[in-house]
């Protein structure tokens, strides 16, 4: 079935997404959790842009703030979490200024989210069909029941579920893990969102099912030109599906760039460490892994300066005192590391000598 046509039919006044145009812009976002033990700066000033038709991966360990950042875009931050600074702009609109009702119509119809565990996100006492139709009718009150059922069935077919007539009447427990995640994707896409946030959508699945879901997402993304933010800790999945990558550590974005830059020319010791700590694919004999020593940061008492400094093998004096600025390493590739700052200064000096 042709989804492009479908978008035009139902989209009405909506703008047809054009690949390459700016969809989302996040600038200097700060999110804090005000806990009894003190303020936890879960996200400490991150910025990025996402275009239509682009897949951006956010990589980081648990507790690095990658999910919190995504939740603040879609307005799902729970108390005591709060956006304390920065801006989020979606198609030119300021998301943070939305009222409650604006937010709920924005959520679902423009931005959709897929969560890690599909079982906890589907209501066990309603049929799949019921839940899909509810998602659709929540955003479009005028749509008739029959029409909604038809759309729901089309959506299920699109995500590769057979025998939809029967499946619509079944409950979540009658579906396998992979099938449930397909239902979640169908539910996320039923209102044709322009941005899909996928929070570890394949982590709970087996590799063979993960491969199916990744293929499906790639396929749907090509058809709809939506932007996807893909949160994961699996670098293999990133290499598979993403166009660009942001690497997060302790609430900071330590490196950002195109997928090839990140994998072949990593500019931050943390990125390099992650890549080195994985077994190589083409290894023909046993090679010892090089782990990143130490443990992740305690976010209640983050260290001064660069958060990665205590675990970094090339840590310098300045790393423990000041957070490094971003250094441009190439087109769209930047990293926050004093090593790169040093290199840049050296290069500038050389150029200065040449010119002078």
């Amino acid at each position: 079935m042709d989804l492009n046509k479908d978008v035009q039919n139902t989209g009405g006044e909506q703008v047809q997404p054009v690949p390459g145009q700016k969809l989302l812009e996040v600038q200097d976002l700060h999110v804090s959790f005000f806990t009894p033990a003190g303020e936890v700066k879960a996200v400490g000033g991150i910025s990025y842009e996402l275009n239509y038709g682009e897949v951006m991966g956010i990589v980081g360990e648990s507790g690095s703030g990658k999910s919190v950042e995504a939740y603040s875009i879609i307005g799902l931050l729970q108390s005591p979490g709060k956006v304390v600074g920065g801006s989020i702009t979606f198609e030119g609109q300021d998301v943070l200024a939305f009222s409650k009702s604006e937010m709920s119509s924005f959520r679902g119809s423009k931005v959709a989210m897929i969560f890690q565990n599909p079982m906890t996100c589907l209501n066990p006492v309603y049929t799949i069909g019921n839940q899909l139709m509810e998602a659709l009718r929540a955003h479009d009150k005028s749509i008739s029941k029959e029409e909604a059922a038809k759309r729901a069935m089309e959506m299920l077919e699109l995500v590769g579920i057979n025998n939809v007539q029967k499946r619509m009447k079944q409950y979540p427990h009658e579906f396998s893990g992979g099938m449930r995640q397909r239902v979640m994707i169908a539910m996320g896409l039923i209102c044709h969102p322009k941005l899909l946030i996928a929070d570890e959508p394949t982590t709970a699945l087996d590799v063979t099912i993960q491969a199916q879901i990744l293929e499906l997402m790639k396929d749907l993304q090509k058809k709809t030109h939506m932007g996807i933010i893909f949160i994961t800790h699996n670098l293999g999945v990133v290499a598979e599906i993403c166009d660009k990558v942001s690497v997060m550590y302790a609430g900071k974005m330590v490196e950002q760039g195109k997928v090839d830059d990140i994998f072949y020319h990593p500019g931050h010791p943390y990125t390099l460490g992650l890549l080195r700590s994985m077994p190589r694919v083409d290894a023909e004999e046993h090679e010892r892994l090089i782990p990143i020593e130490g443990t992740p940061v305690d976010m209640l008492n983050p260290p001064e300066g660069c958060p990665f400094a205590p675990r970094c093998e090339s840590c310098m004096k300045i790393c423990l005192q000041k957070m490094p600025p971003y250094v441009e390493l190439g087109e769209g590739h930047r990293s926050a590391c004093w090593l790169r700052v040093q290199e840049q200064l050296k290069n500038q000096k050389k150029e200065g000598e040449h010119n002078g």
């Binding site: 590799v207 800790h233 290499a239 994985m278 443990t295």
Partner: protein, 365 residues
Amino acid sequence: MAEDKILLEVQNLKKYFPVKGVKGPGVQAVENVSLYIRRGETLGLVGESGCGKTTLGRTILRLHEPTSGRIIYDGKVIFDGGGLPEPVRDAEGNVCRDEAGQLKYQTEAGGGDSQYVPSKFYAEKMLPYRRKMQIIFQDPSASLDPRMTVGEIIGEAIDIHKLTSSRAERTERIKELLGRVGLNTEHANRYPHEFSGGQQQRVGIARALAVKPEFIVCDEPISALDVSIQSQVVNMLEDMQADLGLTYLFIAHDLSVVRHISNRIGVMYLGSLVELAESYELNRRPLHPYTQTLLSAVPVPDPEVSRSRQRLVLEGDIPSPMNPPSGCRFHTRCPYATEKCSQITPEFKEVEHDHWVACHLMDKQ
């Protein structure tokens, strides 16, 4: 590094879980698995969730009572469900092997010595083996008692097996174990919730090591950990193996880590072993169609490779182990399935040196 002596052998092991109100054998979690593990080697076990790899690991340790089959550990039969040809034993009750490591069987039924007792071992008899065979569980937070300190958790195993004679020796041993897994001695007085996931897993490893085991079943020991911590634990497991001469059965669904740590890898599908080979051989030349798709499904952390390679994607889901397909259990999803596959169960046989496959496609060659 692997000696050639076989430490553990499993023959035609079956584990069925009966289901209430359903006729028939119930869930056939492990179906006719035969394998052996040499002393000092690591055997990896991979497969999708629900394929019975964890059940197999636990059944070998007799944490689940096997339905039938035979388990031989270090020359002694620790479980015999009957129905298999009887091996020849020496005066001490050890099974005898020929030079190639194959079991010698008694030639006449009922002949030979009378030491064979066709009954199951009881838990008391299992106790000395519990000391030799240990397990590291997948979820560290769920496998440590939240109301015991780390010292108590590790000390309990020492007490049960009466491994130390004095309190001071016991404390010393706990400190030594904590040091070995990279924790501080002060950590002995803390509770599990005070640790991060990686540290909890280290406690779980220290607990398994407390009784000086020879054989450890590692049941997905790193899947619950962060990427940067995983490699720390993998390296630690490797070091311990080298220092203490341990033998591992390493269960995981992450093929890249299994390939890294294992000498040989077994691939399971729906309760049965479908392929078993040396790990790099399996990586280079997977013979079973299921292994091929499994390998191609693993995401490669290299953008150029993942863009260029051809991916085999399996259709459909894993069938229910309560009602497995007839013949080859993989035939419902296999791209090369023929009539024969749905009728006759393929035999698990050695097609090349140390490369075992259960597939009818191998017959044609």
